[in-house]
């Protein structure tokens, strides 16, 4: 399946710059650029800032999905479940005053919102990852997510069913905390995935993924690492869901368990280029642009346009943007 290539970016310049130095320079530049944007753009009134916020969320979701795809070799179709669990956890804790803290952007709540999906990931992931292969696994994750959707719909006063939970919108004061939290989340997600891929766990999993026979003899250990990857993606999605709950102030199945939250990260990873750390980032910015600006300009027929766009991208750029870059800059 997708294989991780070491190094943050495929080298653009086939010259004497050391690739690792270039990577560090680019990373620092990117962080500086996005970190300082709020200082010269009025984040509260800027659609561009909203767009960036959405992109940061997509980055967190996509890095998580990419991690699972790369390390379990399986395509998870249940990402929206983790996202929803995070959002609902935040909403439920807040509305029921469970932690007796200040709630709005409460880091404790956000972390808990990340951990609840982890529990779900472990419960669902253990049987699915250990027993199911390929498409069976994918359908299993999809079905599990749908079960969750129905549980939410039937959750009575706890989840308020189809109507969803409303959070006190009066808490909203400005977009700045959203931007920063999103930004930090994106960095955190990228760093986490990067570190995992570089760690012994990552290297071991990669090697074992490619050699099935030796994998069999290390069975239990691999399962643990796969569940670990699955859980990490769940955590990232959960925190992202929590952030979005703070943003929308309404947590409902239609908005939060929307399949888009599952498909977009996949599209982003594929568009950006599977198996790279930079791919989901680039993909997120491109897809984010298409969907958020698309919504503005094309409105009602927006899904039709995006549907066509997805088809066009997959037909003509199946290796994604990073793959395209490879083709252009191949030194042959």
């Amino acid at each position: 399946m997708t294989k991780y290539r070491s190094g943050l970016f495929k080298s653009l310049i086939p010259s004497h710059f050391k690739r690792s130095h270039l990577n560090i320079v680019i990373t620092v530049l990117v962080i500086i650029v996005f970190g300082t944007i709020p200082f010269y753009i009025d984040v509260d009134n800027s659609f561009f800032a909203y767009y960036l916020f959405i992109c940061f969320c997509y980055i967190a979701l996509s890095q998580g999905w990419n991690l699972v795809a790369g390390y379990t070799g399986q395509i998870s179709l249940g990402g929206h479940a983790f996202f929803a669990l995070g959002a609902y956890t935040t909403a439920i804790i807040w509305l029921n005053d469970l932690t007796k803290t200040w709630y709005y952007f409460d880091p404790v709540v956000m972390v808990i919102s990340g951990l609840v999906p982890v529990i779900f990931a472990i419960i669902i992931g253990t049987p699915l990852l250990s027993r199911l292969r390929g498409d069976y696994f994918s359908f299993g994750t999809l079905a599990a997510a749908e079960v969750l959707r129905i549980v939410i719909l039937k959750g009575g006063s706890f989840t308020q069913g189809a109507m969803g939970l409303r959070l006190p919108a009066s808490s909203f004061s400005s977009m700045y905390p959203y931007y920063w939290t999103g930004f930090l989340l994106a960095i955190f997600a990228t760093a986490t995935v990067y570190l995992i891929t570089r760690s012994r766990i990552g290297l071991a999993l990669r090697a074992l993924n490619e050699d099935e026979t030796s994998a069999a003899s290390h069975g239990v250990q691999i399962l643990f690492y796969k569940i670990f990857a699955f859980a990490v993606s769940a955590f990232l999605a959960g925190v992202c869901g929590s952030l979005f709950a703070y943003y929308l102030f309404i947590v409902s199945p239609l908005g939060i368990m929307n399949l888009n939250w599952m498909f977009y990260p996949i599209l982003i990873c594929v568009l950006g280029g599977n198996g790279t750390i930079a791919g989901p980032i680039i993909g997120a910015f491109v897809v984010g642009a298409i969907f958020s600006y698309g919504d503005v300009f094309v409105g009602q027929i927006h899904p039709m346009i995006t549907g066509i766009l997805i088809i066009l991208v997959m037909k003509f750029m199946p290796t994604g943007i990073m793959g395209l870059k490879d083709k252009i800059f191949t030194r042959r």
Partner: protein, 291 residues
């Protein structure tokens, strides 16, 4: 006792709709390894087509099959050559799934724009005729629906087993490389498989339109259940897909009766997950089947 039998019968009838959708998915997946998640949206599309022909031109829904089926076959062929040919050749699983998603988004939105999000149904004057058989109530529409589904299944079965191209389709589902070495053109086979898959969707769509009310987003629900049916039955077996569909139909109607419609869905998926844990390749699947 009577009521339960009635519920089961309704489940079987519902299930055949899922079943033929699943057979279509099975053909498409078997030959091209494409998870055609747009199947549900396509079914609903044909439902709308049937509705449109009925309300605008007064064409009886069952007679409209004469128009709709050839359209479906052509559409299926077009889908393959325009959308999926490259992804099938590259065996690009995610890519083909995403293309199917794109198609699904497009179709759902298209239908919403053209036909509005309000639910529709096709109601014929004779549709409500009820037959009383062995103490059961069977509406004519459901009976015809069952008949159509069975005929369609029979047709596909005969095609796959008695024609040369059908045999080639089966062979390609099993081993693409080996079939290529026989001189079988994978594109032709894939296009045929997709055409039949869409053709089956047309039949399911007519069934849907005449039996239930539907709206543009109903398709995803059908698609998931068809996928579940296919997986439960065991990927790669035609009868498995049909039986899987019927099984799901029965669970759904029984669940609806005992626990209520909402939970019935959850039960369907929960049963699915449970079955997979116990039999990771589906009820009829063989471990030699590559997923």
């Amino acid at each position: 006792m009577d009521v339960i039998t009635q519920v089961v019968i309704n489940g079987i009838l519902l299930g055949t709709m899922y079943g033929i959708a699943a057979i279509g998915l099975s053909l498409i997946f078997g030959t091209m390894r494409i998870v055609f998640i747009a199947q549900g949206a396509v079914i609903v599309f044909f439902g709308y087509l049937c509705y449109w022909l009925f309300s605008l031109l007064g064409i009886d829904p069952y007679l409209s099959l004469i128009i709709v089926i050839p359209v479906a076959l052509l559409l299926g062929t077009a889908f393959y050559y325009v959308l999926f040919k490259e992804a099938a050749a590259l065996k690009d699983r995610i890519g083909s799934l995403l293309i199917a998603v794109g198609l699904m988004f497009f179709l759902e939105n298209f239908m919403t724009v053209v036909w509005s999000p309000n639910p529709r149904a096709v109601v014929t004057s004779y549709g409500f005729v009820v037959f009383h058989l062995l103490g059961l109530n069977l509406t004519l529409t459901r009976l015809i629906g069952l008949l159509l589904a069975l005929l369609a299944t029979l047709g596909v079965f005969l095609f796959l087993n008695k024609t040369l191209i059908g045999t080639a389709v089966r062979a390609t589902s099993e081993d693409v490389e080996a079939s290529t070495l026989m001189g079988i053109n994978p594109n032709r086979v894939n296009a045929v498989a997709m055409a039949i898959g869409i053709g089956l969707s047309a039949v399911a769509g007519i069934n849907l339109a005449t039996t239930y009310s539907f709206d543009p987003v109903y398709g995803f629900d059908i698609a998931i259940k068809a996928l579940v049916a296919l997986t439960l039955g065991g990927i790669g077996t035609m009868y498995g897909a049909l039986l899987g569909g019927i099984f799901i139909g029965i669970i759904e109607t029984m669940g609806s009766y005992y626990v209520g419609a909402g939970w019935a869905q959850a039960i369907v998926f929960a049963v699915f997950l449970l079955t997979l844990t116990l039999r990771p390749y589906g009820i009829f699947g063989r471990s030699s089947q590559k997923a």
